[in-house]
Subunit: 262 residues, 2 copies
Amino acid sequence: MDINPNITPAEFRRLVREGRFTGTTSGYCPGYAQANLIILPKEEAYDFLLFAMRNPKACPILDVTEVGSRKTAFAGEDLDIAKDFPKYRIYRNGVMTEEVTDVEKYWRDDFVAFVIGCSFSFESEMIDAGIEIRHNTENCNVPMYITNIDCVPAGKFSGKMVVSMRPIPYEQIVKTVTVTAQLPKVHGSPIHIGEPSEIGIINVNKPDFGDSVTIKDGEVPVFWPCGVTPQSVVMNVKPEFAITHAPGHMLITDIKNVDLKE
Amino acid sequence: MDINPNITPAEFRRLVREGRFTGTTSGYCPGYAQANLIILPKEEAYDFLLFAMRNPKACPILDVTEVGSRKTAFAGEDLDIAKDFPKYRIYRNGVMTEEVTDVEKYWRDDFVAFVIGCSFSFESEMIDAGIEIRHNTENCNVPMYITNIDCVPAGKFSGKMVVSMRPIPYEQIVKTVTVTAQLPKVHGSPIHIGEPSEIGIINVNKPDFGDSVTIKDGEVPVFWPCGVTPQSVVMNVKPEFAITHAPGHMLITDIKNVDLKE
């Protein structure tokens, strides 16, 4: 559906909850933090929380729900973790088995949901600074790649870092670093600038998640740690059951980016 | 004993381990991060880790040990959590029962140790910026206070924030904020500047932990969140068993402050 990108996060979540929006969320509700998701049974929660703490660039935690709860007071009032992401992925023993728009029927009393900052959040700051967001212009999802960068392991959790990529003109690279570095809770500064093979990306035109975007002459691919990293970890560690968002299909929270600045 | 404050952290830890240094650690090994401690049984670890994550100003986690381990690779090689703090406190059901210089005999296979950043770390940066550290000049421990500021609760953990205080001349307050704000992993910027009663401190000359220091004319008390906060929480929540460092008696890590900058 065609919706006004400047509606409030609560209005946006209501559209999602009613099944009227199931797309990617880049560009919606500018100025508000968007969030990744991983839901795990409580018995996995300590190891994952420690994993997130040891990998704060890839997994900056915005909030963690109480066991069994579908609410998070920090991320927003009138919010349902099981319905307010436009799309979810169900993983059984590390294999993605379903993609759905609502996970109410899968919900268990022992679930803990980790709400993780998303780099879509700082795109409005980049746009304000005069930087084009290519996947917005090309009306597609951001390209994401599994890298050769090892996350710091914790308990049973280990795996490679996933990154998102935005092509940036040479003359805007420094500005890109300084603008995004102000928002570490939504991934912050880039993890890599330039040659994709340095971080194990063989073909920058073939992302592992999302869509390919044009890199023009005079532009450099710039890479940020990505909240899809938990999905790479889940595929690696194969917990019995996990739910994540579908890449690019984020929760839009009531948290203003300015309130995440340090 | 009289030791050179500029020895390496590894040399300092060895002196502590051998029982040759049992004092407060402010001023030693300038430029290296110092750390607070709380050790809890594994069954309490998830709730405490979540508590720390929700209260990052008071409880910035530097590292968490694997269950039962007395080592932390991140904080330093040649490091023994059970011996390398100059002084420890044993809490049983929320009551401090012993103060000891070594906790080897208390160690259990289900212990998890949380190594938490300490504001002693940024004192060398303050000194480099020309700011006097009063408790160094007066050769005593930093004053610490239990405030009326509620921490964000998590599971069973809740309680009031503890703060440390340094008197700062009016003309150095802005510099004090900017210098310390660069190091959020060791508490970062102040939580309060000025009137102590605003945060529930009735008599600034009677700290709850540590020693009183002189506040001269033209100086303002400046308060930072303090890693003794877990002790206030332990006294409030009364877990069956907990070990902390004694206030002011920190672990000196191999982590350089510069490597904690964002």
